[in-house]
């Protein structure tokens, strides 16, 4: 494939269950990275809940897609940014997240996003 690689930010604002956004966003991230795009993931607002390590999706017959977050590093998706303020608001510590992430101050988010060529949000 001769297409140049683009930088793409995928912004996650939705909680893990109640809508398909989280699962379909992760599918999107993996596919785009597989096709040589430079993907960065951002988790803000309720989106940070997707990364909680203590989830039991089986009680609502939902897929435990959060286990796939561990695969991001094998897809060369290394830029995983989590809004520090959103964690604080929800009483979540970084140690409660299922993968290593980069914590970002609220005011630095727009700076990081402005470096991206493209953006999509779920």
């Amino acid at each position: 494939m001769s297409q140049p690689s683009a930088t793409i930010a995928i912004i996650n604002k939705s909680p893990p269950y109640g809508c398909s956004n989280g699962q379909e966003s992760l599918d999107m991230a993996l596919a785009l990275s597989n096709f040589a795009q430079d993907v960065s993931m951002f988790f803000i607002e309720d989106g940070v809940l997707q990364l909680l390590v203590s989830q039991d999706s089986t009680v609502i017959d939902a897929k435990a897609y959060y286990k796939t977050f561990a695969a991001l590093e094998f897809y060369d998706i290394e830029n995983i940014y989590v809004c520090k303020h959103s964690l604080l608001e929800r009483g979540i510590k970084a140690s409660q997240l299922c993968i290593p992430v980069t914590l970002v101050e609220l005011e630095d988010l727009s700076k990081l996003l402005s470096k991206q060529q493209h953006m999509m949000s779920f």
Binding site: Q3, I8, S20, E24, M28, A31, L32, A36, H118
Partner: protein, 129 residues
Amino acid sequence: MSSFTLLVTSAPYSVQSAYSAYRFAVAAVESTHLIKGIFFYQGGVLNGSSLQITPSDEFDLYTAWGELSQKYQVPLMVCVSAASKRGVTTAEDAQESDNPHFSLKAPFESVGLGELAILISSSDRLIQF
């Protein structure tokens, strides 16, 4: 001239987003910009269902997508995995799963997410609706 990829993640009718995407696409091609492709994902895949019946006094978005695609050679791409889960399938997929019904046909195409990567990397802008 700029080139655009449109990502439509909203179902038709329930919210205005898909219609807004259509209006944006028309405005872009009429002012000589290029729409590389329109990619339907999440609930947006329902835009590709040929089983939609629009009341005669309402705007027929399904037909409008088809006319736009034909007149300006704009590809209408529907994500196969998102569509299958929502009952939007091609005749071929229906046959493979022993289902007598299908709802996805030309000019809409059933494609993988890789096609979106190719569209994005060859466009100046990606716009999500």
